[in-house]
């Protein structure tokens, strides 16, 4: 685990403890000396000492845009923070294939971008052969049998397909997050699986640009994957959960 300071720290501008932070915001005021002062007081309300309003411009009639720098009095103690993290160490393709071989069958999975979300690039990157940044997708492994259902897939349909192919895992991608619709979609799937008595039979993975492991857990998934996830990360996670341990000896 990466070591983080275990004491309250301030923001770092260019000297330890200077607490420098930058803010920008719009207030419904026309630019003038009082508007500038309002911005200053607004910044102070956030805990910024000696805020410097570096710009005040009329972004629209009756609205001013401000940039402020100030010395934040706030601290945070990173050492005291605990957040769930996926701990599986990503394995090589070779190890992944070998471990699935030990399982004696392919790992079957279905994936989709659900609800009204049409952003497939993320789930495609994980599942499709092409992969992302040179890391080939799950389709490229001999050990995986992967079904990518694409975009705008309803939870019902997703479960139906999962059942039909006998999926070991369901991969859900959610990109649109407005008013937390991604959370609702995700939770609904889990509820539906539970209602159908399927929850224990599949591993559920949640992913998307605003997703992290904590959110995945919160919504009832086994794991959550965020920006920068590689197919090999997901492959390793599944292998780690499903396949017998891998014996390092050459002829294992």
């Amino acid at each position: 685990m990466i070591e983080l300071p275990n004491h309250p720290i301030k923001a770092y501008g260019d000297r330890e403890g200077d607490g420098m932070v930058q803010m920008s915001f719009v207030l419904r005021v026309t630019p003038c000396a009082r508007a500038r002062e309002a911005a200053k007081q607004f910044a102070e309300a956030h805990g910024l000492a000696d805020p410097l309003v570096t710009t005040m411009e009329e972004a629209a009639e009756g609205f001013s845009y401000f940039v402020v720098y100030g010395h934040s009095k706030h601290t945070v103690n990173p050492g005291q923070i605990e957040v769930p993290e996926v701990t599986t160490v990503t394995m090589t393709r070779d190890v992944i294939e070998k471990r699935i071989k030990k399982l004696g069958r392919k790992i079957v999975l279905v994936g989709a971008c659900t609800g009204s979300d049409a952003h497939t690039v993320g789930i495609d990157a994980i599942i499709n052969y092409k992969g992302i940044s040179g890391d080939k997708g799950l389709e490229s492994y001999k050990g995986f049998e992967a079904y990518n259902l694409g975009a705008q897939v309803e939870n019902e349909f997703l479960i139906e397909r999962a059942r039909a192919v006998g999926a070991d895992a369901i991969l859900v991608s959610q990109v649109i997050t407005q008013r937390n619709c991604h959370k609702e979609n995700g939770e609904a799937l889990i509820e539906m699986l539970k209602a159908q008595g399927l929850r224990d039979k599949v591993i559920c993975l949640f992913g998307g640009p605003r997703v992290d492991h904590a959110l995945g857990l919160e919504l009832g998934f086994e794991a959550g994957f965020g920006p920068g996830t590689k197919p090999s990360d997901v492959a390793s996670y599944l292998v780690d959960r499903m396949c017998p341990a891998y014996d390092e000896s050459p002829d294992a």
Partner: protein, 517 residues
Amino acid sequence: MAKGMATVPLDKAKVDRCRELAAAVASDVQSFIDEHTTVGVERTILRALGVDGVDGEGVSVVNRVIDRLQTARVLGRGVCTFVASELKGGAESIQDAAERLAFGDDVDFAAPLSPEESRRILAPHVTAALARIDEARGHREAFKATLPRSPEPHRYVIVATGNIHDDALQSKAAAKAGADVVAVIRATAQSLLDFVPHGATTEGFGGTFATQENFRIIRAATNEASARYGHYVQQTNYSSGLCMAEIAWMAAVEGLDMLLNDAMYGILFRDINMCRTFVDQYVSRRFIARAGIVINTGEDNYLTTADAVEKAHTVLASQFVNEAFALRAGLKNEQMGLGHAYEIDPSIENSFLLEIAQAQLVRQIFPTHPIKWMPPTKFKTGDIFQAHVHDAMFSLVGIVTKQSIQLLGMFSEAVHNPMLADRYLSLKATTYVHNTCKNLGDEIEFRTGGIVSARAELVLDEALTMLEGVARDGIWEAIGRGAFGDIKRTRTGGKGYAGVVRRSDNYVNPVLEALEA
């Protein structure tokens, strides 16, 4: 295209060949189009004739009518003959006729009128329908003529609060900050709705519903801003999805200037059935042509799913196809805002040169088209400072290669729909880049045999090869194997297929006929 600008070498014979191939592709589809109608098309015709309003459950009358005819399996004759029949049967007005068709107990689904008679009965209404469009166009153009025209590239921004009244405020703000075009982005899933919502709306995910009332509200706001800030601000919306034709008509009568409208976007990016889309796009474009609206095609989207270096030629090939379809729907070159985008991975060495090559190539191939230049989105991250610079380089290509319409990049692209300040800062930065580099494109030449020239030649060659394949297999097949945007669709798959109806022999549609005349 301005004189004296930097050019890339262009083999005219190849360009001509591309156009020929695209024409063949479009003609093939046109014969399908001419044999079909859709629920969307028929609803549009009803609206054009003057049908409006919703029932007690908030369902549009036009939907009620068409659904009923569809259920009765008589839609293949076209809604017009039924309207005419009701008028003949005593309906007081078109609206009354439609309401009878929608809710009446004694609708005669056998519809005894001949096409000729239907045409005759509807003739004055068709005239009125067209007059309404022409009048809206006239008003818009007259007002526009009173104001100075902004220099190109026109700066195009989106507003998307979900609330039309907030959108109106944002739209005025954008106008003040220099926007030449304001688009109201639609709510996330509207394109999949097989009806157009009604009235002013104040809630929507990721955008605001396209409704006729919303169009009115935002148009009024933009006109007000145009007058106040002394430059004409164009208003834009989306003629796309299952209701693309209806929205085209709404835009036509509400005086919009532009519409996102693409012959294939719905198929590829919304998984809308291709038969449906091809028919709908045609009819939508007939209204658009009449209204003098500029379309914006969606080739930029290809580069969000496919690689922008490897698949650059698919954008060009698709532009030829979109052009061919548009021509068949009566659009003028000056109405074709063909889309393309700055979407190459910014970490690639000399990627800027490839972007310039593509933009310049498109500019030269479509010299009189109001080309639409779209910003980087895919490689934007939450580092808003870096994203702002990324957009600046995009703006630079826009001015150097003299793009016509430039949708402004937003530094918050990977974060949220643009907020007031994001738009303001984007307009400020873009205006700076366009102004400081105003005549840069006239100043430079690209070295023969250089990276830019070679890239332009390669892309054209690849587009030609691709179009040969598409023409050979037909577009249905080509889409089937993922030729565009790496996305595969089947002829009968996708949403809205049930709404496609084969025209019967006595199909009649005097509105469309008039538009086609």
